[in-house]
Structures are given as structure tokens and as C-alpha cells.
């Protein structure tokens, strides 16, 4: 087990490092931000002076080594726009994004798990078909469109929810729904199909033969075995939720990491983009690691693997 964790940890570090290298060079391929900072009428001499001051005219490799040297000591540089440490800017907004993604994930699970189980248990019935329709709709709605529709309905027409911002729990309702829609659909579909598969297995027939109640069969023997692929997908969905938060936060003017990232990319605020990508990749890698480790808890056979 320890060897397993160590090897996964090693790969995790490698992934984060690879991502940081990629983002460093990729974001610089489109040019430097000088012209976006200076007034449109700035003379060429001034552009060159500013570029030199900011160090954008140095060779890329030299810039990268300087970045790497500092990053290893925990210094991710100053935001070009905000004149503040880039990592602090990203981390300051983390609680907002965590609250949003967390409530969206909770919402997805609360809806998807019972729906998936029921669809499988009542396969072929109206319940199953209804769950199929719901998931299809959920998968097909573009988040952006859904967000605007919710705002029109609940903020403009009924005026019961604030269209944007952060502060109260009401501010979380619409963004969470938008963010949860897609994952709910995915988790429902996946849980349904793995449950169906499990429920056809021999040991379920044995359990039925032993005269166990259908509730006990579905919930204990069925769900436990269908949980592994579902948890894998939920883990993957966390990444999707964090990514989806970018659009959702922007539409609802929700002050999270995603919104900061969009602005940083538009402004070519290199250091903030780098800090954002590093934080995101560490988060996603960590979640994947936890998902892997959870298999062992759910399935004793895997502990030996």
C-alpha cells in the first residue's frame, strides 16, 4: 500500500510539473502583454522600455528558469495587473469556488444517486424512462444558455433570486444548478448502467435465492459494487466542475478562481494564469489520488493489487 501511494505521488508531482512547463510556454506563444498594458497611443520607444523593465524581452528559457527557481521556493511572482502576489490572488478566491463546486457536487450526488438507483431497480418502467429523459436534457443544455434562462426566470420575472454576486446562500442557488446539471446527468446514467450490470451478476441471484429483501439486495450488494465506477466518474466530475466554474462564475459575476483565470488570460497576466493552472492541476491530481485510494476501501480485493 505504501509503495502504491508513493508511486502515485511521484506521478502526481510529475504531472503537475509537466503542466506548469506547458502553461508557461503556451501562454507566452501568443505574445507578451505589453501592448495591453500601455495606452494605445504609446510610442514604440515606450513599449520597448516597458517590455525591458518587465523582463519580457529576455530569452524564454531564461525567463522559465527564473520562474522555476522562485516557484520551487513558493514564490509564483507578482500579478502584472494587480501588483500583488499571484498565488495569493488565486488562493484568496479558492473558498468561493470551493463553495460553489462543493454545493454543485452535493446537488449532483443528491439527485443522481437516487435517480440512478431507481432507474436501475425499476428498469424499463416509467421511472427509468423519465430518468433517461432528465439526463439527456441535462447533458444537452449548454451551461451558458441555462444560466441566462435561469436569470431571466428567477431574477427578472419572479425576482426571487439575485442574478449575480456572492454573499448569501441565495447567491449560490442558480450557479450551483447550472454547474450541477451536466454532472448530474452523467452520474445518473453511469450509476444506472453499472447497477444494471451488477444486478444481473450471479451473486445477486444468490442473494435473492437466500431470500434477502430487494431493498437490501439493491442497496448493499448492488450499490456497493456499482460504486467503484461511479466514484471514478464523480472524481472526474470534480475536474469538470472546477472547469465549468469558469463559465458559470463569469455569467453570475461570482468572484471565484475561474473568473480570475478568464480575466488573467484575456489580460495575459502570465503569473496569475500560471498560479491558477498549478493550483488546478494539484487539486485534480489530488482528487484522482483520493479516488484511487478509495477503491481499496470499497473493494478489499484491490488492496492487494
Amino acid at each position: 500500500m505504501a509503495a502504491f501511494v508513493l508511486s502515485r505521488l511521484f506521478y502526481a508531482i510529475l504531472v503537475v510539473f509537466g503542466v506548469s512547463v506547458a502553461v508557461f510556454f503556451l501562454i507566452r506563444m501568443g505574445g507578451d502583454p505589453t501592448s495591453l498594458f500601455l495606452p494605445p497611443d504609446a510610442p514604440v520607444a515606450e513599449i520597448e522600455r516597458f517590455r525591458h523593465l518587465m523582463g519580457f524581452d529576455r530569452p524564454l528559457l531564461e525567463q522559465y528558469l527564473a520562474f522555476l527557481g522562485k516557484a520551487l521556493r513558493g514564490d509564483f511572482g507578482m500579478s502584472l495587473r494587480y501588483n500583488e502576489p499571484a498565488m495569493a490572488l488565486v488562493l484568496d478566491r479558492a473558498p468561493a469556488t470551493l463553495a460553489l463546486s462543493g454545493s454543485a457536487l452535493a446537488l449532483s450526488i443528491v439527485i443522481a444517486v437516487p435517480l440512478g438507483i431507481m432507474a436501475a431497480a425499476f428498469r424499463g418502467t416509467v421511472i427509468d424512462r423519465a430518468s433517461l429523459v432528465i439526463s439527456l436534457i441535462g447533458q444537452s443544455f449548454p451551461a451558458f444558455w441555462l444560466a441566462i434562462m435561469l436569470i431571466l426566470l428567477f431574477s427578472e420575472t419572479f425576482r426571487i433570486l439575485p442574478p449575480s454576486g456572492r454573499g448569501t446562500w441565495q447567491h449560490l442557488i442558480m450557479p450551483s444548478i447550472v454547474l450541477a446539471t451536466y454532472s448530474t446527468a452523467i452520474i445518473t446514467r453511469l450509476l444506472r448502467s453499472s447497477m444494471i450490470e451488477v444486478l444481473q451478476a450471479d451473486y445477486i441471484r444468490t442473494a435473492r435465492g437466500k431470500g434477502l429483501s430487494e431493498w437490501r439486495i439493491v442497496m448493499k450488494h448492488g450499490l456497493r459494487n456499482a460504486a467503484i465506477p461511479t466514484i471514478t466518474v464523480i472524481g472526474l466530475q470534480v475536474g469538470a466542475l472546477l472547469g465549468g466554474a469558469v463559465i458559470t462564475e463569469e455569467v453570475f459575476a461570482y468572484p471565484g478562481i475561474g473568473r480570475l483565470a478568464i480575466q488573467a488570460i484575456a489580460n495575459r497576466d502570465f503569473t496569475v494564469v500560471q498560479a491558477f493552472v498549478i493550483v488546478m492541476s494539484i487539486t485534480i491530481v489530488t482528487i484522482n489520488l483520493l479516488v484511487d485510494l478509495s477503491y481499496g476501501l470499497l473493494d478489499p480485493r484491490m488492496r492487494k493489487a
Binding site: 501592448s35 497611443d41 495587473r81 436569470i151 431571466l152 431574477s155 449575480s164 456572492r166 478568464i262
Partner: protein, 503 residues
């Protein structure tokens, strides 16, 4: 169970419905402004965004400001003169203190500019003030601005839309190497800083001791809302009182019992630039005139801008210095355009590149595509190329714009528009005319306004005839407002809340 669920849901729905959604904007003493972006810094010399400047202008003042007629008017300076052509002398108000009690005087003015002009300070808008070679304290309330050459547009350099021109308190601004000022601003302005929750809100409260008279509205909140539909929804549901950047197509639907629209033609300029530095048909004056005749700008304005904004005859805002209302744009006349093209040797037209950014300015791509349609009518085929903003900047630096270009520009004086865009050899200029160069140089180094008007009148004749541009419109600045709010937008896009109040 079922009953319990239904009644529970109902209860939840009712409790949500009965909660006041936005209490602050319904309060007559609070004004909430929604802009597309948050402030980047509270230090006026450390940013390069109008959205930031709008927040800071409530906290700080400049030496001069813009009055209701759009003229430069006294602010922290009461009067000014030119003791010699290389000096601008300002008399300062003697009754002003900063929010922290620091005294406002000539030393504060000198400190403000010395600080931002220090190259090591890295002010992004350095070039806006870099003509100032020195600031000299004459006495406690008199200050001299020195320049190397006569500098006629000094007042536009010192008013609030020239970002680093807002005056900062010397002792406080020096604390912690400026970090304190950047986080917790102290100015002389009508509003005091309360808090800044990044990407969420900036909160200000009225300064009862403001030298210009305490503002009527007690509390001001700036909120960043990038998505247009969300800004509009906030306005409609009463969450904000001023929503900036409303698209023309939403104007009619916002004239209601609760909301209204306020529009002003901006100082910004929409026009096409013809690249005459490369060997294309555009080097021929007749071709440039033909293009001017070929595009129906009035129709574009009517269709895409809902008729709002202002048609310009030359590349200068109608409220700009030396703009002559008798100037006429080329009339829409496709037959004449075809005749001119034939005369120039292109009876069957030609193919040319069009270059722009997309989504940078209100309806930019739509205007370009509509114009391409008009050009096709007279036989000019276009290949439209949209560049990403960062790439655009780098292409521009290397003088790489080609064909018919849609750059966008602003400036209220020919010296800020024609000089950089038409003077031979400058990197934003794609045109050359020796006679025009002489006039532009003369206008740049003459202080006397009447003399300058004559110079630019002569320059205008050459520009009209040579047609280096296709002047189009000053696009509108459109704001959605709470119906009871009394507030006037400004053509330069700066939001001034000093006189705002509710009916």
C-alpha cells in the same frame, strides 16, 4: 411522507420569495454601479483600465476636470497660464485636505508627478504624462509644469481621464513603498474608501468635508459584472442603479417604469485606415475617395447603433478641439465610387485585406462585415482578418497592419489623433504627406488656441482630399439607469458621481 415533502418545498419556496433579494439598491442613499470589470489597483498611477479609473475618480481629484459642456474646468487648480511657451503654471485651491488630514498643496502635486514619472515606478500610462519634464514648486499653492517643447494639450494630460494625473497624498503614498495606497486609497475626492472585496465590490461612502460640496448619495458600490445579460438582469431586478455598456438593441426594452437609458456619443472614433505604405491600390488617392463614397455609414449607424452615436466628417470627435461643424463627410454614392475606381484604373475592382480585432469595441465585427458588403457592391473584394488583441499589439508595433484597417482610437485634439495616425513615419501612421506633416508639427508646438485652429483647418482640407481614412462615427456610450436616478454620462467614458442624486 408525500405531504411532508410538498409542504416542505412550498415552505422553502415561500421563504425564498419573501426574502429581500437586494436591499442596498432600493435604498435611496445607495448607488450601485455595474461595470464589466473590477478595479485592478487603488493606485491611480499603477493601472491601465477605464473601469479602474471610474472607481478612483470618486476617491481622488485631478488638477483640472471636465464640466457639463465637456470643457476643461478648474478642480484642484483654480486657474492656469503660460508664463512662457515651455511652462504651464497652475494656481491651486488652498482649502483642500486629503481624507487622512494631509494637506493638499504644491508639494503634493510635485510628488504625484515625480513619483509616476520615475521610470523605475513602471507606470503603465507613463507615456500620457511623459511630455512633462519637471514639476516645480513656485510657492505653496503655485506649481509650474515644464516641457521640452511647447505642449498645447497639457490640460488633457492633467485631467482625470489621464490616469496618473489624479493627485495622491505624499506622506501616505510613500508608506510601505506604495502598497498601502494601492490597497486602501486616500485622496481628496467626494467619496471615502470603505472596502474592496476583489471581483466582488468596491464600497465607498460620502466625504462630508469634500471641497466641492458633500455628495448627495451616502454610499456608492462598484460591482464588476462582465456578462451583459447579467448586468441588465441586475438593473431590471433593482440590484444596480447604473449599468454600463448596454448594447444598442436593448435600449428600447429598458425604457420602463423602473429603468431608463442614458446615451452620449463617446469621444471614441470608428474609422478605417488605408495602408498606403505597401504597394496596393490604396496608394491611389482616387481609390481611397472611392471607398469613402462606397460605404453607407449612415445606414450602418442606423442599423447597428440604433441610430445612436455621432457621424464624423473627419477622424476627430465633433466635440474635439478645432472640429468645424461645416466639415462634410464624403456622401454615399456607389456610382461615383465606381467611376472613381475606373478612373484610377480598377474598373473591375480589386481584392484587399481588412484587419481588425473582434469583440474589442461595440459591434466592431458587424461594422467591418457591413462595410465589406458595401465594398463588394462596387467591386472591391475583401479578405477579413481578425487578430487576437495581444497579436494585434505585436503586429502593430512592427507596422504590420495591412489593407483596410479598423483600429479604433480616441482623442479630443487633432494633436492626439492626426499626429500619431497621419504624421509620416510614426509607427501608427500608414500615410505620408509632406505638407500635412508641416502643419501637424506646427499644431503640436503652438500654444495659442486661435492659431492652432487655423493650422488644423488647413490640415483638415488636405486630409479630406487625400482621404487617408474613412471616418465613420463616434459610437454611443449607453447606460441603463434606475428611473429615479439623476446622473449624466460623459463622452470620455469617465463616471462622475459628484452630482448624482435621486429624484
Amino acid at each position: 411522507m408525500k405531504h411532508f415533502l410538498t409542504s416542505g418545498l412550498l415552505l422553502a419556496a415561500i421563504s425564498v420569495a419573501s426574502l429581500p433579494v437586494q436591499s442596498q439598491a432600493q435604498d435611496a442613499q445607495t448607488l450601485v454601479v455595474a461595470q464589466p470589470a473590477d478595479a485592478y489597483s487603488m493606485d491611480p498611477a499603477k493601472h491601465s483600465a477605464f473601469t479602474t479609473a471610474n472607481v478612483l475618480f470618486q476617491i481622488y481629484d485631478a488638477l483640472v476636470t471636465q464640466d457639463a459642456e465637456g470643457e476643461i474646468a478648474p478642480a484642484l487648480a483654480t486657474e492656469w497660464s503660460n508664463p512662457d511657451p515651455l511652462t504651464w503654471r497652475f494656481k491651486l485651491r488652498e482649502d483642500v485636505t486629503f481624507h487622512n488630514g494631509e494637506k493638499f498643496d504644491a508639494h503634493a502635486v510635485k510628488y504625484t508627478f515625480d513619483r509616476a514619472l520615475d521610470p523605475a515606478f513602471q507606470a503603465p500610462y507613463f507615456s500620457r504624462i511623459s511630455a512633462i519634464t519637471g514639476v516645480e514648486v513656485v510657492d505653496d499653492y503655485t506649481v509650474d509644469f515644464k516641457t521640452e517643447a511647447p505642449y498645447p494639450t497639457m490640460l488633457l494630460t492633467l485631467y482625470e481621464a489621464s490616469f496618473p494625473a489624479l493627485i495622491v497624498p505624499p506622506a501616505y503614498a510613500a508608506e510601505e513603498d506604495g502598497a498601502k495606497l494601492a490597497a486602501h486609497p486616500i485622496g481628496t475626492g467626494p467619496y471615502l474608501f470603505v472596502e474592496w472585496l476583489k471581483d466582488e465590490r468596491v464600497v465607498l461612502k460620502a466625504n462630508p468635508d469634500y471641497w466641492g460640496g458633500a455628495p448627495e448619495i451616502e454610499k456608492v458600490v462598484f460591482r464588476p459584472i462582465k456578462e451583459t445579460r447579467t448586468r441588465i438582469a441586475e438593473l431590471r431586478s433593482g440590484g444596480v442603479d447604473i449599468a454600463a455598456d448596454i448594447p444598442p438593441e436593448d435600449v428600447d426594452s429598458l425604457e420602463t417604469d423602473e429603468t431608463k437609458i442614458s446615451v452620449v456619443p463617446s469621444d471614441f472614433l470608428y474609422f478605417f485606415v488605408f495602408d498606403t505604405t505597401r504597394d496596393t491600390p490604396l496608394t491611389n488617392k482616387l481609390v481611397r475617395q472611392a471607398i469613402n463614397h462606397a460605404v453607407d455609414v449612415d445606414a450602418i449607424q442606423a442599423a447597428l447603433m440604433n441610430g445612436m452615436g455621432k457621424r464624423i466628417a473627419l477622424t476627430l470627435p465633433v466635440n474635439g478641439f478645432a472640429y468645424d461643424p461645416t466639415w462634410e463627410p464624403y456622401a454615399y454614392d456607389p456610382e461615383k465610387a465606381k467611376a472613381l475606381l475606373a478612373e484610377a484604373g480598377y474598373p473591375d475592382g480589386f481584392t484587399i485585406k481588412m484587419m481588425s480585432r473582434k469583440g474589442r469595441f461595440l459591434k466592431d465585427a458587424e461594422i467591418i462585415e457591413a462595410s465589406a458588403g458595401f465594398l463588394a457592391e462596387v467591386g472591391i473584394k475583401t479578405e477579413i482578418e481578425y487578430l487576437e488583441p495581444g497579436v494585434w499589439g505585436q503586429v502593430s508595433e512592427q507596422k504590420g497592419r495591412e489593407g483596410i484597417i479598423f483600429p479604433g482610437w480616441s482623442g479630443r485634439d487633432p494633436n492626439l489623433v492626426w499626429y500619431p495616425l497621419l504624421k509620416t513615419g510614426l509607427y501608427q501612421s500608414y500615410f505620408s504627406n509632406a505638407e500635412l506633416d508641416k502643419l501637424l508639427e506646427a499644431g503640436a508646438s503652438t500654444i495659442d488656441p486661435e492659431e492652432r485652429k487655423e493650422i488644423y483647418s488647413a490640415a483638415a482640407k488636405i486630409i479630406k482630399d487625400e482621404a487617408p481614412h474613412l471616418p465613420m462615427i463616434q459610437p454611443p456610450l449607453i447606460y441603463g439607469l434606475d428611473k429615479t436616478l439623476v446622473w449624466t454620462p460623459r463622452s470620455d467614458g469617465m463616471i462622475d458621481l459628484r452630482a448624482a442624486h435621486y429624484e
